[in-house]
């Protein structure tokens, strides 16, 4: 509650200073005696704070409270995801570090070694990880308070197993490890499928569809990641070093496999993602059939047309 109050005060304060000139008179209105330092280099300025606060409280993201961590009694790290939940397939994770003394958002920190781990219970006792993105990046340069990373879960928590997540906070050369913490991964609502796998030789790859929730009727950017399972299945599956091209063929299973024209294959982008263009001619359930080719153009998974390798999205 205290943090919220402080943030709310900051918000009011920031709002006031937007409309007025940024003056020297820093005694925040109704600051309840809390001393907000004039300049705290470690923390974001007022505008950045306002933007970060707005982003983290806009109702879209919610905190995964089990992953909250106090560091050295000075900071608190919070982890957010869409609605504070995790589901099978691609999930964005957001991290923010607040300074306990003044509630300010810390600018410089890194999140590394995100390690999701599934422990299978019952008959087949084993452990494996799942695709993750590279280290966390600044989510939005206009408010460098929030880091973003992603995890794409292969399966949901349930009777067959449970998920743990660990991560490392790095700040000014120091590291703190948040050890394995139980998280809940929900199944995706039927008939959605946002993660698929294929094999090339002995290698297993995962195709994670990254922006399934953004699709609308019309022309869309489609974004995905290709991850490769390493020798140790307990280690996170990192982005595949291979370069693929992924042809897409969207169809509507409920409408006799009606399709749309003008779709563009997903190709590797400088940031390691794959991007293409996806045309959806109406709302409803769409199967995005995939045909994966290697750098030489050889088919390695799926096929032309109604490939058995497909994601399913609902718009």
């Amino acid at each position: 509650m205290k943090h919220i109050f402080i943030k709310a005060s900051l918000l009011v304060f920031a709002a006031l200073t937007f409309s007025a000139c940024s003056g020297d008179d820093d005694n925040g209105p109704e600051s309840s005696g809390i001393n907000i330092p004039e300049i705290d280099d470690e923390c974001c300025n007022e505008e950045e704070t306002f933007l970060a606060y707005t982003f983290l409280t806009n109702g879209f993201v919610g905190e995964i409270e089990s992953l909250r961590e106090q560091v050295d009694g000075k900071y608190e790290l919070r982890v957010y995801s869409a609605a504070g939940k995790l589901h099978v397939g691609y999930n964005d994770l957001y991290f923010s570090l607040t300074k306990l003394s003044n509630g300010g958002y810390v600018r410089d920190f890194d999140i590394t070694d995100i390690t999701p781990l599934m422990t299978m219970t019952g008959g087949m006792s084993m452990q494996h990880s799942t695709p993750i993105g590279p280290n966390a990046v600044v989510h939005d340069k206009t408010f460098p308070a929030v880091r973003r990373a992603w995890v794409s879960f292969l399966m949901s928590s349930g009777d067959n197993g449970y998920w743990d997540l660990a991560y490392t906070l790095e700040k000014e050369g120091s590291k703190w490890r948040k050890e394995d913490t139980r998280i809940v991964v929900d199944p995706l609502a039927e008939p959605r499928v946002w993660i698929k796998s294929f094999k090339v030789g002995n290698d297993t790859f995962y195709l994670s569809l990254a922006n399934a929730s953004d699709f609308r009727t019309g022309n869309n950017v489609i974004k995905a990641y290709v991850s490769k399972v390493g020798t140790d299945r307990k280690q996170p599956y990192l982005l595949a070093p291979e370069r693929f091209t992924i042809d897409i063929y969207p169809t509507m299973p409920d409408m006799g496999n009606h399709s749309s024209p003008g779709n563009e294959a997903l190709t590797l982008q400088p940031d390691g993602s794959y991007e293409g263009r996806l045309n959806l001619s109406m709302t409803g359930t769409w199967d995005i059939h995939l045909h994966v080719k290697d750098a030489e153009g050889n088919s390695v998974a799926g096929e032309e047309g109604l490939s058995e390798l497909f994601w399913t999205v609902v718009i």
């Binding site: 009727t217 019309g218 022309n219 749309s260 003008g262 709302t283 409803g284 359930t285």
Partner: protein, 657 residues
């Protein structure tokens, strides 16, 4: 062609009104006073608008059921016609053309239907390459009978059709009003051979009111309201029916009469109409995916018409403008899974304004010239982001708004001497694509089983018309030969696009509207009337039409050789008629458009009418049999070859005080 005209002996069958001055204009009276119709032997006041339209010689209809037939003029459908109600623009709201605007009025609302053939349109008409139909409202007017009451009832055995109408009219020198209500109900009809045609029922209620007030001598204010509700309408030719189709039509106008100077009459009218149309497939068996398909059409507009007859001229100058909004969407409900949604008319707003002029010049008693022209500017915009984005898939980079200039010009000349009348005319005109042709989105056409997508990059369609007619009127014989040819460039038609995938389950593919290089439509007819003795008259009309693309490929819905003939006999207040309508097989059909052959047929009808007084009540009693021999047949324009009605007995009674 002329050999054919000369060989084909035929007689005229056209209950036209008085306005026969111009070759191009033909009228049919809808609401004649009881006892004063042109013929007593037809269905009279119980006739539907569609049946009245068929009384115009150049009009045929596309039937998708027993209700709401789509007019065809000169073998052209709605896209190439102008349809107005008393000069008011009104646009149908169904993407599948289930509701031509003629379905939103009733016979009781109208005084007559006026048709201008070809490019010589009425002043408010735009896009009228094939012709323009104006439905003239039935206003009682000033200085008529102080009060008049009408009642009519009709029954038809086939389909248990019931028709009831009631109206009243009051008139003084300063004020008039007339109002009434109409009800129609039909069950499924039976085709020849007593096969029931499922989903051919309908029900309709209509109410109208007109009022006029002469504020001062020559200054007239008038108003009209029509409310029309049709429910539970079956369309046996389609896969869907209609739950509810309603139209609200309203206008107010101000008119100056007997003005001094060049123009004697000036009328300005403001109008608004709204149509809501909701399709329904819930009564159909084997529906794979249930759909909701509502459509909405709203139009507001005005026109201002100056008319005058200075010297030998008969001038009309008209300014008009309207705004129309068309919105239609479709929600499909799979048995499992999320409903699918799309906009089939993406909230399209159209603004159009135009100036027109018409002059009938009587150079001498023998030489007549008629000139008409109109220039219009139109702009159209897609209102819905979602609809715009969806079309953008098919037309990347398309613009959201577009405008175009269209126009028409027509000239005709007539020479009259004795009973002979020779006339020729020509015209050039363009039309902008319709909303369906421009922005329609996956509109399934059951005729050819294709899904249609509009094309925002269409050019305007252009046409040149040439017509000729020769008529002779003797003491007992009338003969008339007519020919009318239309040569199109950039003719708009759907063409298969094999790269696209259809949406409708089971569809053959997708067609996209495109401009075809050249097409032509030629219509010829020979008609006549023979009155050998007083009271006996033989009418007949034979017509032949041809329509093809430059490749030789035939156009669809072009009538094959058709003959209609009627023998009338009148004895005092009793009139009887016996007639036939026959068509040869439609074998040269337009395969590329999904048309398949129909067999030839001949159907006979018989009717009688008697008019009499019971004290002050003028009474009309009419009875007859349609399809006398219960022939099982369908015509070239019966959508999906749905059968026509089998034998049908009707009886109608009209009373007037």
């Amino acid at each position: 062609m002329f050999t054919l005209l000369l060989l084909a002996g035929g007689l005229r069958f056209a209950p036209t009104d008085t306005l026969t001055k111009e070759t191009a204009i033909e009228e049919v009276v809808v609401s004649a006073p009881v006892g004063e119709g042109q013929t007593f032997a037809d269905k009279g006041r119980a006739k539907s608008i569609d049946e009245h339209l068929l009384g115009l010689s150049k009009v045929d209809v596309v039937r998708r059921g027993s209700y709401a037939w789509e007019p065809i003029v000169n073998n052209m459908q709605t896209e190439r016609l102008s349809l107005t109600i008393d000069g008011m623009k009104i646009f149908y709201a169904c993407t599948d053309k289930m509701d031509p605007v003629t379905s939103y009025v009733e016979s009781g609302n109208l005084r007559r239907i006026s048709l201008n053939s070809g490019l010589d349109g009425n002043p408010q008409a735009t896009g009228n390459i094939g012709g323009s139909i104006d439905l003239k409202l039935r206003r009682v007017g000033f200085d008529q009978k102080p009060s008049e009451y009408n009642a009519s009832a009709g029954y038809e055995s086939n389909g248990n059709v019931q028709v009831y109408g009631l109206d009243a009219a009051f008139s003084t020198h300063r004020f008039y009003t007339n109002f009434g209500t109409f009800y129609r109900h039909a069950n499924d009809y039976k085709a020849g051979g007593s096969t029931r045609v499922r989903f051919s029922q309908f029900q309709k209620v209509n109410a109208f009111a007109n009022a006029g007030w002469q504020i001062a001598e020559g200054h007239v204010l008038e108003g009209t309201v029509i409310y029309d509700v049709a429910t539970d309408i079956g369309y046996p030719a389609l896969t869907m029916d209609v739950k509810d189709a309603r139209g609200f039509i309203s206008s107010v106008s101000y008119r100056r009469e007997q003005m001094q100077g060049f123009f004697g009459r000036w009328e300005t009218k403001l109008y608004y109409n709204r149509i809501t149309h909701d399709m329904d497939d819930t009564h159909r068996p084997d529906v794979k995916v249930h759909m909701d398909m509502p459509g909405r059409s709203r139009t507001a507009g005005l026109y201002s018409l100056l008319s005058g007859s200075p010297g030998r001229h008969n001038l009309q100058l008209n300014f008009d403008a309207y705004c129309n909004n068309l919105f239609a969407d479709m929600t499909m409900y799979p048995r499992v899974g999320k409903p699918m949604y799309m906009l089939t008319w993406p909230d399209v707003g159209t603004f159009e304004t135009g100036l027109s002029a018409t002059d009938d010049i009587e150079i001498t008693a023998r030489h007549h010239v008629r000139l008409s022209g109109k220039l219009s500017w139109q702009t159209r915009r897609i209102g819905s982001d979602e609809g715009f984005d969806a079309l953008g898939i098919y037309f990347p980079g398309m613009k959201r708004q577009g405008s175009s200039l269209t126009g028409r010009i027509a000239a005709s000349y007539a020479y009259e001497v004795g009973g002979l009348r020779l006339a020729c005319g020509t015209g050039y005109g363009t039309r902008a694509p319709t909303v369906t042709e421009q922005y329609g989105y996956f509109l399934n056409n059951i005729f050819d089983q294709y899904d249609y997508i509009g094309n925002p990059r269409l050019r305007n369609e252009k046409a040149v018309e040439a017509n000729l007619s020769a008529g002779w009127k003797g003491s007992s014989l009338e003969l008339k030969a007519e020919a009318d040819a239309f040569f199109f460039t950039d003719y708009i038609a759907g063409r298969p696009e094999t790269r696209l995938s259809p949406m409708t389950i089971g569809a053959e593919g997708v067609k996209v509207y495109q401009n075809l290089n050249h097409t032509r439509i030629v219509n010829t007819s020979l008609s006549g009337a023979w009155t050998p003795i007083e009271g006996l008259r033989l009418d007949g009309r034979i017509s032949y039409s041809y329509g093809a693309e430059s490749s030789g490929r035939r156009l669809p819905l072009i009538a094959p050789l058709t003959f209609a003939g009627t023998l009338h006999y009148r004895f005092r207040k009793l009139e009887t008629q016996f007639g036939v309508r026959t068509q040869t097989a439609n074998s040269h059909c337009a395969w590329a458009y999904g048309e398949t052959p129909t067999a030839g047929y001949a159907v006979w009808h018989l009717g009688a009418g008697y008019t009499f007084h019971v004290r002050k009540v003028q009474t009309d009693l009419r009875a007859g049999i349609e399809n006398l021999f219960d022939k099982d047949y369908s015509t070239y324009s019966d959508w999906n070859h749905i059968p026509q009605k089998g034998r049908n007995f009707y009886v109608n009674l009209s009373l007037q005080i």
